[in-house]
Symmetry: C2
Subunit: 128 residues, 2 copies
């Protein structure tokens, strides 16, 4: 899932938990980058078609909101990396993430361990 620059920025905007129509999004981005309402509109449409935004008609306009949160999206991207570059996504990614972890602080590594511990606890609960 390769996104363009504007698409990324718009997604970030919706990850703040907002719900907005094209006009509002345009109002937000017009100041910092110019462009026209139409550009925003087609970007919203592209993101919708990619399944990254949800929308619902409300009066005149569609109200858009994030279809998945940042965390889920990033997890999806990580998953894709595995599919693209590895025959055995699981284990390769694990090793790679370990390599990546070299750039994390001790605190962050601790946080990761806690999260894994938590998911493990949830796991054993659901399987009993």
């Amino acid at each position: 899932m390769q996104l363009g620059e504007l698409e990324k920025q718009v997604l970030q905007y919706f990850w703040k938990g907002r719900t907005a129509d094209a006009k509002s999004v345009y109002a937000h981005f017009e100041k910092q980058r110019g462009g026209t309402l139409n550009t925003i509109q087609s970007t919203l449409d592209r993101l919708f078609k990619k399944g990254l935004l949800s929308r619902e008609k409300q009066g005149h306009a569609f109200q858009y909101s994030a279809a998945m949160d940042r965390q889920a999206f990033i997890a999806k991207l990580i998953e894709e990396i595995g599919e693209d570059y590895s025959a055995d996504p699981g284990s390769t990614l694990i090793a790679a993430f370990s390599t990546f972890s070299e750039k994390l602080s001790d605190d962050q590594v601790s946080a990761l361990e806690k999260l894994i511990e938590a998911r493990r606890a949830a796991d054993s609960k659901s399987s009993c």
Copy 2:
């Protein structure tokens, strides 16, 4: 770092630990996908310019090999995701990876824990 389909395949080829010139790479890919030597050559060149392959002249031809292994490359991609989609790469990625870990088997989660433990041990050693 977005790669094209052929680029990915060529990279995978070199991750098997091989060193090869354009002709050899072409011999390998010709059967499965056709194309010309020139196509392979320019793909090798693109990968070289992207820093993903190293090369060294040997006689007539360049001998190419992977500039970084699969693991390092994937770690790099994960890092880029953080840069692209998060103000705070470290912690967001950690949370996202935890989400991703839901798709891993218990064994794989254990493996990850072991790797992190190992990296932690290496860490405390180097900092003392």
